[in-house]
Symmetry: C2
Subunit: 318 residues, 2 copies
């Protein structure tokens, strides 16, 4: 049986990914770049064409040198055998409480006693998914940001029942994988990255809906201002730098009335609203089917150059 | 007298910057990289140490090769002589309606009849600043994003009175300067980039105030997810790519309930609220005085690599 001590010999660890959608494949690719033995990775999915799907889709997430690993990855259509030797079970299934809740009961019954249980959910907290577990302290949210084989962020969101050992082993393992795990202090709807992205998207939808800008103009605005800015320094650090000697406090003293006016005037569109036809139509017309390979190269290069600049000037690099 | 035909020989144009703060200096640096004759740039400010301030501060915004230009820039403490030969008068003064309104009356009296009048305001629309102008059709908002000698975005916001010719000449001139002017269809509080940034900051403040994450964790989250993502593709394009074959519409069908829950639960902090001590304190402790040179190098490199990737894969590059 493979070691399940994830604080030790990670390279020989067995990992099971549940769900062969985009996030599952991207995380599978991330693990494959570290595992010594590709057959230590198992992908579970009920789709009947799982093998051909993996052979066709997984290589796109991997560098050329790792394409030969793909046929060695283990595939399974049911959980018990797939998790029985696993050190990590990482769930990337549908956003459905009944599915996840039933899954964890089954996983818990068959996985080794010290295996880590990670859910990639973007919205269903561990405290709801763990309701039927014998030992709810084992489950933790490890929320990736698409595409997670490239973007380093993982939001680590324990439930009130999650054990400190599960938190620590999860964070330490992901750091050793070159990832950026950020531990949230409490569960909160949508976690942090999602809340920030969705609140900005809501205002973006409002501005397109009001005819102030088009979808493409709005994207151009982000790509030529906040995107490059926040790739280097998040909003607090950026605004603090922009505030001169007074920092963030000085900045908000100067522009506070405008900021408050923007907040008071923020759009309040809702899912299912009349904006959908206009916005979805503009998005389809502007972008159609997109080149994900170019996106992946660009995201990777942006992360690299920021690290290079920080290294060159001696800043601390994570 | 220098040409004021900004659609023609830009290199011999005379430009006057009003206000020697951070934005004024950054825009001065941008213009100096294009002007054949540094003395065609004039900087106006009432501060008594203007000359020593410019000699000390402006070089930081310029490549080494342009440092010898700095002493040749013309300086002035009053408007009339400074604008009389100008093709562009670009205001970067305090965010104060009385100041701006009085300024434009004075500028209009002394500047050439076809000079462009640009205000860098982040919140006072041209339709309010132009109230006392003889010809309100001449004024337009050209809102930069800090630091504007590096970040390409300029939001172009005409008032209902702004002439089409002023709009067209402004957009065309900025495109020739390698900038990304985005024309808003209507005036709106805080324009677009500001509204998006402030609405995200409001949620960020709320999450720190609630103790979910620290200021530094929140910045790390942006730097390792949305920042690199949006440096390449804005939110509509990114979410459309992340939605698979269903695009943005498919994505919001899947995660719509979580998105709506985030919107319903979004923080409603206000300027002057009790969060300020906690957030300003964390920001000061985390960042102190920041290295703007490293920021500038990083922002520039991020913009460059995105353009390189788009060129390599044959995407359209603006």
């Amino acid at each position: 049986m493979a070691s399940v001590n994830v604080t030790g010999d990670d390279a020989n660890l067995r990992i099971t990914i549940i769900g062969a959608g985009t996030i599952g494949l991207s995380l599978a690719a991330l693990h494959l770049t570290y595992l010594k033995t590709p057959s230590n990775l198992t992908i579970v999915d009920v789709r009947p064409d799982l093998e051909s799907h993996i052979l066709r889709s997984l290589p796109a997430f991997l560098p050329q040198s790792l394409h030969p690993c793909v046929p060695q990855v283990k595939l399974a259509s049911s959980v018990p055998a797939a998790v029985k030797d696993s050190g990590i079970v990482q769930e990337c299934g549908p956003e459905n409480l009944a599915f996840k809740s039933a899954l964890w009961s089954e996983v818990e019954e068959h996985a080794p006693p010290d295996a880590l249980f990670w859910t990639s959910t973007s919205g269903i907290p561990a405290s709801r998914q763990n309701a039927h577990m014998r030992d709810p302290s084992r489950l933790i949210v490890v929320h990736p940001f698409n595409p997670p084989h490239i973007l380093p962020l993982l939001e680590i969101v324990p439930s009130p029942q999650t054990s400190q050992s599960v938190i620590d082993r999860t964070v330490e393992f992901l750091r050793r994988r070159g990832r950026e795990p950020v531990l949230l202090q409490k569960e909160i709807t949508g976690f942090v990255a999602g809340r920030l992205a969705w609140v900005l998207l809501r205002e973006a939808i409002h501005l397109v809906d009001q005819g102030i800008v088009t979808v493409e103009q709005l994207d151009t605005i982000l790509e030529t201002s906040m995107g490059p800015r926040w790739a280097y320094a998040g909003p607090f650090k950026s605004f603090h730098a922009g505030g001169g000697p007074g920092g963030l406090e000085g900045l908000l003293k100067n522009v506070g009335p405008t900021v408050q006016a923007c907040w008071d005037d923020a759009g309040q569109v809702n899912i299912g609203g009349a904006w959908e036809a206009k916005v979805f139509g503009q998005v389809r017309e502007a972008y159609g089917a997109l080149d994900l390979e170019e996106r992946d190269v660009a995201n990777r290069r942006v992360l690299e150059v920021v690290q290079e600049v920080k290294k060159d000037t001696g800043s601390s690099v994570d």
